[in-house]
Symmetry: C2
């Protein structure tokens, strides 16, 4: 017999990008940073005191929260540390959305995990289509309010297009929306601006939570460390009650502190990726791809020959050991999402495309 809840039986699980566990492929499919983590992180790993493995970690990740607060100009009480950004997303649903309630709101297309988490939580999803240019519609907040949702997610810069919304646009949505607005800034390190001013003192907003991740900007996808920055301590307190009691481990807390502590240095690597992103945009444009201007560490590129071409190129690249991402979404069928790798990896991708024709 089957014991699980019906919504779980019915669930289509989240499908992560392929993670081949050999070192010989070129992985441009899951937006990892192409460089090793900063030396300070590697030093923290090498010097980690094994005595701290034996003991329970700080349940609230206090050293990291203090550092993050200082780094971002907010208070410790506005920060929560989580086991990857994904845990924060799940926790947001747990705390701010009733199962069988009015559900959550997202812009469409978006990070597909939001919908999976809603299905796990057994709550509906209101999908609000992005405009032709992938911007948010002017009545986004009104549509959320009309649907009665209590929680909404905007990934900014946007995945999978790379588009960045202005702070003013997001401020207006937050001030009009009746629920909690999550701005998922997983890719913010590669963008021209972030939305920190919406959570800093004086923003006048009590309903904004920024999601940050060390996976992309800090080359730490393997570590699973993310955090939230909320416009009020009350939002954090509510999540703190509902998270797993020791949700982040001692090693990841130490390495996360080392990474964020080196943020000024690491910023140099973001500039290199931005430069490569701009170069790849030019290279593909020269080859008749239509590439959206991106503010992330990936580009969304429309294949010259449309859907069949996109599928063929995706498959052929895969056979050559070059992984990019293809999405089965009506507006994305003729496009590939390509992570920016090292200059040499990017050149190999261009070379492979040239050899295909």
């Amino acid at each position: 017999m089957s014991y699980e809840r019906k919504n779980i039986s019915d669930l289509q699980a989240y499908v992560p990008g392929e993670q081949p566990q050999t070192g010989t492929v070129i992985k441009l499919n899951t937006n990892e940073h192409p460089d090793l983590p900063h030396q300070a992180v590697i030093d923290a790993l090498r010097q980690f005191d094994p005595e701290l493995l034996r003991r329970y970690p700080s349940p609230t990740a206090m050293p990291f929260r203090k550092l993050a607060a200082q780094t971002h100009g907010v208070t410790t009480e506005q920060i929560i540390a989580t086991n990857g950004g994904d845990e924060l997303l799940r926790l947001l649903l747990t705390v701010f959305s009733e199962p069988n309630g009015k559900g959550i709101g997202v812009s469409d297309p978006t990070y597909s995990l939001y919908e999976v988490l809603a299905a796990i939580h057994d709550t509906p999803v209101t999908r609000i289509a992005r405009m032709e240019d992938w911007s948010l519609p002017g009545d986004f907040a009104k549509q959320l309010n009309d649907a009665g949702v209590t929680l909404a997610f905007i990934v900014n810069p946007h995945a999978p297009t790379g588009r960045l919304e202005s702070v003013d646009t997001l401020r207006e949505i937050a001030s009009q929306f009746n629920g909690v607005l999550v701005i998922d800034e997983a890719y913010t390190n590669f963008a021209e601006h972030d939305c920190l001013e919406l959570v800093r003192e004086g923003s006048g907003l009590d309903n904004v939570i920024l999601l940050r991740s060390l996976s992309k900007g800090y080359s730490l996808a393997g570590l699973r460390f993310g955090y939230g920055i909320a416009s009020t301590p009350a939002l954090i307190q509510a999540m703190d009650k509902a998270r797993d009691s020791y949700n982040t481990d001692a090693v990841s807390q130490a390495l996360a502190c080392a990474a964020l502590g080196a943020c000024k240095d690491v910023a140099g690597s973001w500039k290199k990726i931005i430069s490569e992103r701009n170069r790849m945009t030019e290279e593909l444009t020269l080859r008749n791809w239509i590439v959206l201007p991106s503010q992330t560490n990936f580009i969304l590129a429309q294949a010259p020959g449309g859907i069949d071409d996109a599928v063929r190129i995706y498959q052929t690249l895969k056979e050559k050991g070059i992984f990019v991402r293809y999405f089965n979404h009506p507006r994305l069928l003729d496009k590939l999402r390509i992570t920016i790798g090292t200059p040499s990896q990017n050149n190999m991708l261009i070379g492979a495309l040239d050899n295909m024709n």
Copy 2:
């Protein structure tokens, strides 16, 4: 205004044992192993390839699952790896218990996190009192079925008493119970037997999940690594769909493999703790404490002078930098739960008690 769900507003959060972050106290309050992790674990930490920090980890923790399957005589499909045993507990509620449904069943007293997780999930708890000798009542399964619960938790060996139920008792409960029975074996490394035969091929049961943790037996409380062993792959598949997509990180997967791979060696440390546990039981009994026979790495000891004595001793020990655990539960008010430390720590506790009188 307040944005969180009412059940979260109303929630009394789980209170973990105190975790003073200085090295000078004697921590006998959260059942950590007194020794460092096995050298193989420390080697795995020192030799960890930083390239694996950069990339996403194996989403299914496959290398660990293979090793655990081999170690325990089950198949890989019967194993799930989680971010501490606590994540497994939460996941069990998510998957096998409807919010606003008939809820979960527990024996009382028990690990207090079960109730907190139920409150977060907004589902009720049926508490079935343990007998005078802390055994489970003979109609335990019937009481669960009468209450209509779909998920029940038994910690075995039992916390906080240290009592061990027989495999036959648990087999009978599992075969009579209409829902999923979780046997929380967090302390099994210190017990005379475990319940593996209930999940191995031929058990005839389709509703049993064992919880294992590396926190206690493997000196890895700081790492957050636990796992479940289910009597059927169907139970694991359902949880696999609902867990966070990369729930365990690359470092903890590697260290967990090293730890479990050294299980035969580590067993020597369990014998030492068992020997110290038996010595401490004798020492305290000599001093007129009533100590329950324990099959764990802690003892539950009733103070010679009753409730006031227990509270006074708890406080005085704390002032001396010796932390033990006190529970505000009607049947535990005159008792202290004392983790077994190193021989020297245990002697210091005895010395402190002797100096108090």
